[in-house]
């Protein structure tokens, strides 16, 4: 996780995108959260050789990106950046599952390659869905939605606090790392230096927490954080969830690309 500085800079960019104003942005965050979860469950529930049946699901992130005016290229790049784990685990499938599943002329495709492709398609779909959710909603709105859905409040408060101080502390850590790399020749941090750097960062963090607590007490903090944004179940939100869920159900039961292919080949 060496590039975490760059990745954190990204969070700021995501927030800027989430501050936009579009039909997608204005939609109830709960509706978007629910629809995204339904989408992920539907995608992941396919059996491991499914590829064509997964294709119609691309409509969900695509519709969100287009309705919300989100930068597709930027999101795509983010997805590619995090793909190594899925690829690493999936790449063993072609080696282990050699049963021929598909034949095009003399070209044999083993089941392993099919399931590997399926893993990649799934990965792409689920990760894109999570990213579009944040890009069109913003972290705070998602947190508020979580409270309304019934996630325990201390956990949501924890999420908000974490997000608030993420930038502050990473800035501090970045300064420390820069200072050390300017004062050493090979640039690497030795273990002993690491321990005292991280330890100092931890001590500063604890002091900061104490200061924050005092400041909060001064402002009447009693151990509860109140979220002031009210949310009402609106028509648009409910419709959004219902329509998408029905669509996912249809996609799940009928293999749309296959049916279309059948109709088209039926003409000739």
């Amino acid at each position: 996780m060496t590039g975490i500085g760059g990745r954190l800079f990204d969070i700021g960019h995501m927030d800027a995108i989430a501050a936009g104003n579009s039909p997608m942005h204005r939609l109830d965050p709960r509706a978007k959260l629910t629809a995204t979860l339904a989408f992920i469950v539907a995608v992941v529930s396919f059996d491991k050789y499914a590829i064509s049946a997964l294709i119609p699901f691309f409509i969900f992130p695509i519709a969100q990106i287009s309705l919300g005016g989100l930068p597709a290229g930027y999101l795509f790049k983010k997805v590619i950046l995090v793909s190594p784990f899925a690829v690493l685990i999936g790449i063993f499938n072609p080696m282990l599952d050699r049963e021929v599943l598909l034949q095009i002329g003399s070209f044999h495709v083993s089941g392993g390659w099919v399931s590997f492709c399926s893993i990649l398609v799934r990965f792409f779909l689920t990760v894109t869905a999570a990213l579009t959710l944040i890009a069109s909603t913003g972290f705070h709105a998602v947190c508020v939605a979580l409270v309304k859905i019934g996630v325990p409040r201390p956990f949501v408060v924890q999420l908000m606090f974490l997000y608030r101080y993420l930038f502050v502390l990473t800035d501090e850590a970045a300064r420390m790392v820069r200072a050390v790399s300017l004062k050493t020749f090979n640039g690497g941090v030795r273990f002993k230096t690491f321990a005292s750097m991280t330890g100092h960062l931890l001590l500063r963090t604890l002091d900061r927490a104490q200061r924050i607590h005092m400041a909060m007490r001064c402002r009447g903090f009693d151990g509860r954080i109140r979220v002031l944004r009210s949310m009402e179940v609106g028509w648009s939100g409910a419709m959004f969830v219902v329509c998408w869920s029905v669509l996912f159900l249809i996609f799940r039961i009928y293999n749309i690309p296959k049916i279309i292919g059948g109709i088209i080949t039926g003409f000739f």
Binding site: Y49, V157, Y254
Partner: protein
């Protein structure tokens, strides 16, 4: 070692979501009950610290790679199990949402793998037993190192279990296990060393920090009951999921055989162009029908029906969907019940 959505089946994902949701609810209640409002900002800022600390990398001599502080252990040592678990869950949630490490369905797995083991198993059962009430440098070192290794090994073992139960990856259990455990042994040692050195640093500089937050949870009071109930739910759901896959697997094999034979059937009419074209047309025109009536044609196993790859297994799919939906409903129910329980208290 984040699990990815693409490798998790809904049954496994939902089961671990249920377990993690239960643990979050339980920990939230515990933290609220402690009534220590100092902890609210402390937890939040320490979560951010975990991110920040990952920017400080040290070089591991002679390997060319580098290591950094892992999350769970140091949090558990500083905050105690419940608060540490919440912080870890929040860190993983932010990672899943912003960095797409893991994913939303796999988030339950990740919280369980990386949060439960260090916070509820390794720290209270190993670190505290070794470090004890009057810690010394050696005790802290041994405790932190050993518990980090055990916590990570358990987490890695669960990654293997979850992947194998999900059945998406072809990796057999033994091979995957032999791949994961040694790698995570190495990572665990590096993480353990980092954790130990930082804890010792803090202990030397400000010993009261290490003593104070641990004491609110006396040893005898740590109730395993809720945790065990969570485990029980996870086991039942996993068991259900497992049997579901057991029945699915031969089906998948059959299906694959059927598929290959169906393809050969389609390929053969290359000899007579005219006849075969008519045949293909006849067969493909039949396709929409096949799409709708998949279960029948599948059970009868008609050799002739030219199914296209990949086909829909409507019978198993629907049952899979219902199974997945049921487990998700279960997870939601648990969350709902926790919320009701919290309300009635107030």
């Amino acid at each position: 070692m984040h699990m990815a959505d693409a490798l998790v089946s809904p049954a496994v994902g939902a089961a671990l979501w249920a377990a993690s949701a239960g643990l979050i609810g339980y920990s939230s209640k515990k933290v609220t009950d402690e009534l220590d409002d100092r902890k609210v900002p402390l937890m939040g800022v320490l979560g951010a610290f975990i991110f920040a600390a990952q920017m400080i990398n040290f070089t591991i001599p002679a390997t060319g790679s580098s290591g950094h502080l892992g999350g769970g252990m140091i949090l558990a040592i500083l905050l105690g199990p419940h608060a540490a678990f919440l912080v870890m869950a929040s860190v993983l949630t932010v990672q899943a949402l912003f960095f797409a490490d893991g994913g939303l369905l796999a988030l339950g797995c990740n919280i369980f793998n990386l949060g439960f083991f260090p916070c509820f198993i390794a720290c209270p059962l190993i670190y505290k037993k070794i470090a004890g009430n009057d810690p010394s440098q050696g005790k802290i070192f041994a405790g932190a190192l050993f518990s980090a290794v055990v916590g990570l090994q358990a987490g890695a073992f669960f990654v293997v279990m979850e992947t194998v139960f999900s059945g998406i990856s072809e990796l057999p259990f033994g091979t995957f296990l032999l791949l994961m455990q040694p790698i995570h042994l190495a990572i665990g040692i590096v993480e353990g060393l980092a954790t130990a050195s930082v804890v010792i640093f803090v202990w030397k500089a400000r010993p009261e920090i290490l003593n104070a937050p641990i004491s609110p949870v006396p040893k005898g009071e740590f109730s395993l009951r809720r945790v065990l109930i969570g485990f029980l739910v996870a086991t039942v759901v996993l068991g259900g999921g497992l049997s579901w896959f057991a029945s699915r697997h031969p089906d998948g094999l059959e299906w694959a055989m059927f598929k290959t034979s169906g393809k050969e059937e389609l390929k053969s009419p290359e000899k007579g162009a005219h006849e075969s074209l008519a045949e293909v047309q006849e067969k493909t025109a039949f396709l929409p029908d096949y799409g709708f009536k998949a279960p029948e044609s599948e059970t009868s196993g008609e050799e002739g029906s030219p199914s296209r790859w990949p086909s829909v297994e409507v019978g198993t799919s629907v049952s899979g969907l219902i199974g997945g939906a049921l487990t998700l409903v279960l997870a939601l129910l648990i969350g709902f019940m926790l919320r009701r329980g919290k309300r009635s208290e107030k």
